[in-house]
Amino acid sequence: MNGLSIDQISMRFDLPNGSSVQALKDVTLELGAGELLSVLGPSGCGKTTLLNIVAGFLAPTSGEIRLNGHRVTGPAAERGMVFQQGALFEWMNVRDNVSFGPRMAGRRERDWGANVDHLLEVVGLRDFKEKAVYELSGGMQQRVALARCLANEPDVILMDEPLGALDALTREKMQSLVLKLWKETGKTIILITHSVEEALLLGERLLVMAPRPGRIHREYRLPFADIGVGEDLRAVKKHPEFARTREEILGMIWDMEEEIMGRAEVTGGAAT
C-alpha cells in the first residue's frame, strides 16, 4: 500500500533519576501519499519525538512505522527532514548544499544539475547559488534547507517547526512557498508547528496531540490548504470557518496547558 502508516507507536524511556517518561502512547495514524498533515500540541506532548521516530532517528518501544509497505528502521533518503534551524553545511555554498543528497547518492551533475537549478529558482535563490550559506538571512537559509530536502526527491517530508525562528513577514511568505511546493510536487508532508494559524493554513489534515502521555487528542480535516493554494493566505484567514476552528483549537490547547499547570501545583511544583 502507498503512504505512511504509523501503527500503535509507544515511546517510553528512563530518566537518570530512576523514573520514566511515557512520551508517546499508542499513536496510530494513516497518511495517504500527497497528504499534508500538521501537528499541534502543547509543549511536551511528544510531537518532536513522533517526528524523530518517523524519520528513523529514534526506535519506538513498541509499534511500527511503514512507508509504502516496508518497515522503517532508520533514517533514509525517502524521508527528508527540514529542521527549525536550517542545519545547513556552512562549508558548502548554496548550490552544494542543495545538491548534497544527489551527490551523496553518486549521481552525476548532468542528472541533477537542472533540477537543483530549477529548485533554487523556485525558492528564489537563483542569484545566490555561489554564496556561502552563512552569508544568507534566516529566511533564505530556511529556503535552502527546503530546496535541499526537495532536491533529494523524498517520498515524505518531515518538518520540525521549520518556520518557527522566522519573523512574521518572512514566515507568511514561506507558508505560501510551502503550500506551492506541496501542490507542485505532491509530496507527503508532516509539519510540526507551534502556531495554530500555520497549522490551519497549511494542514490538509490537522492533528492535535495531548501530553502525558503523548497521544492523539483530536483530528481535523481542513479545506484551507486547498483554498490557500490559489488565494492570498490573508484572505483565507478571514474565512469565518477559519476563525471558528482556530478558537476551538486554541481553547483545547489552553485547557491542556491549564491542566498541566494545575497538576504541577498539586504535586508541589511552584507554577509560575
Partner: protein, 421 residues
C-alpha cells in the same frame, strides 16, 4: 626601579599627550558608541600606543646601554671613564703622617691603556697611578712605592681627608674607595645607571652580532641552519603528532570504546608539561634528532587529539541527522560533515600545538643539541656572550610570532566559516 618608573611615566605621559593632540577621526559605527567601557567589541588597540610602546622599549634599552641609536642627551648617566684622583694620608712608625695623590685611569673594558705618568711628589708617601676598567674595581697598593712600607707599619688612615679603617669606605666624586680588612685600598669607579654590555648589550651590538652570525655562522653552522633545524624539528614533531592525534581524537569522538580507553591517558598526559618529559626522552632516545622529535610529537599529540575530539563533539546533531536523511552513508557523513565541521577546532588546536612545540624545541635544545636556536643561546650564555643570547631570544620570538600569523592566515583561507555556523 628607576627604569620601571620611567616606563610608567612614558606610558602615562604619552597617553595624555596622544589624548590631547589626536582626535579620533574615524566615523565608523564603533566610533559612535557611547558605551565603550565594558563593551569589549568597542575596544580596539590604539595603534599609536603600540608604536610608542615598541619605541619606548628600544628607547629605554638604548638609553640604559649608551646606544648610538639614542641621542646622547637621552642617555642615562654612564660609568665614569677618564682619570680619577684621590688623596690618601698614610702613617708609619717614626715619621709624621704624609699625603699623596693616586691617579687612576678608568678605561672602557676591552681597551688597552697604560697607567698615567705621575710625578712622585714630595714627602715619604709617593703619588701612585693605576688603571681600572669601567664597571670593574681594582686594588691600589699605595704602600708599594712609598718610602716606609708595611714592614714599617705603613697604614692608610684617611682618603680625601676622611678617616678610613679596614673594612670601611669613602665615596669620592669618581667612585668608591674601599679598604680591605687587611688595609689595602681598592677603587671602584662610579658605575652610573647604564647596564654593562656583559649584562645587556646595546641594540646596535645585537644587530651587529646578528649580521656577523648571519654571514659567518656560529659554532660551525650558519644562522639559517640553526633556525632551520629548530623549525624542522617543530614541523616534524607537529606533523607526526597531528597524524596520530587527529585520528585518535576522531575515534574518541565517535566511539565509546575509544573514548573510554583513551580518556584516562589523554587526561593524564595533557597536564604534564612537555618539558617534564625531556629527561625521560633523553634517557630513552638520546639527545639526537629522534629524541627531540619524539618530545615534540608528544607535545603536539594530546593537544591535537583533544582538539579533534572537541571538533567532533561540536557537530550539531541536526546536521548529522540532516545528512542521514539526505541518504549519506557513515563514511560520507565523516567526510562531508564531521571532518569539515571539526576543522575550525583542529586549526585552533594546531595553533596552540605549534606554539607549545616551538617553546618545547627551544627548551630541548637548551638541554642538549648540536644545532638549533636554543643551543645557540645556551652556548653563548656559557661564554657570557649576552648579545648572542638576546639576538637568539628575539629571533625565537619573531619566528614564534611568524608561525602564529601563518597559522591564522591559513585558518582564514581554509575555514572561512569558523564561528559563523
Amino acid at each position: 626601579m628607576i627604569v620601571f618608573l620611567i616606563y610608567v611615566a612614558i606610558f602615562v605621559g604619552s597617553f595624555l599627550l596622544v589624548k590631547l593632540l589626536v582626535h579620533r577621526t574615524t566615523g565608523d559605527f564603533t566610533a559612535r558608541k557611547t558605551v565603550t567601557f565594558g563593551d569589549e567589541s568597542a575596544v580596539r588597540p590604539n595603534r599609536i600606543a603600540s608604536v610608542v610602546s615598541v619605541l619606548t622599549i628600544f628607547l629605554l634599552w638604548g638609553a640604559f646601554t649608551g646606544s648610538n641609536w639614542v641621542p646622547g642627551f637621552l642617555h642615562a648617566p654612564g660609568p665614569f671613564v677618564g682619570d680619577a684622583t684621590f688623596t690618601y694620608t698614610a702613617e708609619a712608625e717614626g715619621v709624621a703622617p704624609d699625603d699623596a695623590t693616586v691617579t687612576i685611569r678608568v678605561f672602557p673594558v676591552g681597551e688597552e691603556v697604560d697607567a698615567p705618568e705621575v710625578d712622585p711628589g714630595e714627602g715619604w708617601a709617593r703619588n701612585d697611578s693605576a688603571t681600572v676598567g669601567a664597571w670593574r674595581s681594582g686594588l691600589v697598593r699605595v704602600d708599594q712605592n712609598d718610602e716606609h712600607g708595611r714592614d714599617e707599619g705603613h697604614t692608610v688612615v684617611a682618603v680625601n681627608g676622611e678617616p678610613i679603617a679596614p673594612g670601611g669606605e669613602v665615596i669620592t666624586e669618581y667612585g668608591r674607595v674601599g679598604m680591605s680588612p687587611k688595609g689595602t685600598l681598592n677603587f671602584e669607579p662610579a658605575k652610573g645607571w647604564q647596564m654593562e654590555p656583559i649584562w645587556l648589550p646595546p641594540p646596535e651590538a645585537v644587530m651587529a652580532r646578528l649580521g656577523e652570525i648571519a654571514r659567518e655562522g656560529y659554532r660551525g653552522s650558519t644562522l639559517w641552519e640553526h633556525l632551520g633545524w629548530s623549525l624542522f624539528r617543530v614541523i616534524a614533531g607537529f606533523f607526526f603528532g597531528a597524524m596520530i592525534g587527529i585520528p585518535l581524537g576522531y575515534a574518541m569522538g565517535l566511539s565509546d570504546w575509544f573514548r573510554g580507553w583513551f580518556d584516562p591517558i589523554v587526561e593524564f598526559m595533557r597536564p604534564v608539561p612537555p618539558l617534564a618529559l625531556i629527561p625521560l626522552v633523553i634517557i630513552w632516545a638520546g639527545i639526537g634528532e629522534l629524541g627531540k622529535i619524539i618530545l615534540l610529537f608528544l607535545a603536539a599529540l594530546w593537544i591535537m587529539a583533544i582538539a579533534a575530539r572537541s571538533g567532533v563533539s561540536g557537530v550539531s546533531i541536526s546536521k548529522v541527522h540532516a545528512a542521514y536523511s539526505l541518504g549519506a552513508s557513515k563514511w560520507q557523513i565523516m567526510r562531508h560533515v564531521i571532518v569539515p565541521n571539526s576543522l575550525p577546532d583542529i586549526f585552533t588546536g594546531a595553533r596552540v600545538a605549534m606554539g607549545v612545540c616551538w617553546g618545547t624545541v627551544v627548551a630541548a635544545e637548551l638541554v642538549a643539541a648540536e644545532k638549533g636556536a636554543g643551543m645557540m643561546i645556551m652556548v653563548a650564555s656559557k661564554f657570557q656572550l649576552t648579545d648572542i643570547v638576546i639576538m637568539g631570544i628575539i629571533l625565537i620570538g619573531v619566528i614564534g610570532f611568524g608561525i602564529d600569523i601563518l597559522m591564522r592566515l591559513a585558518e582564514k583561507a581554509l575555514v572561512p566559516w569558523k564561528g559563523r555556523g
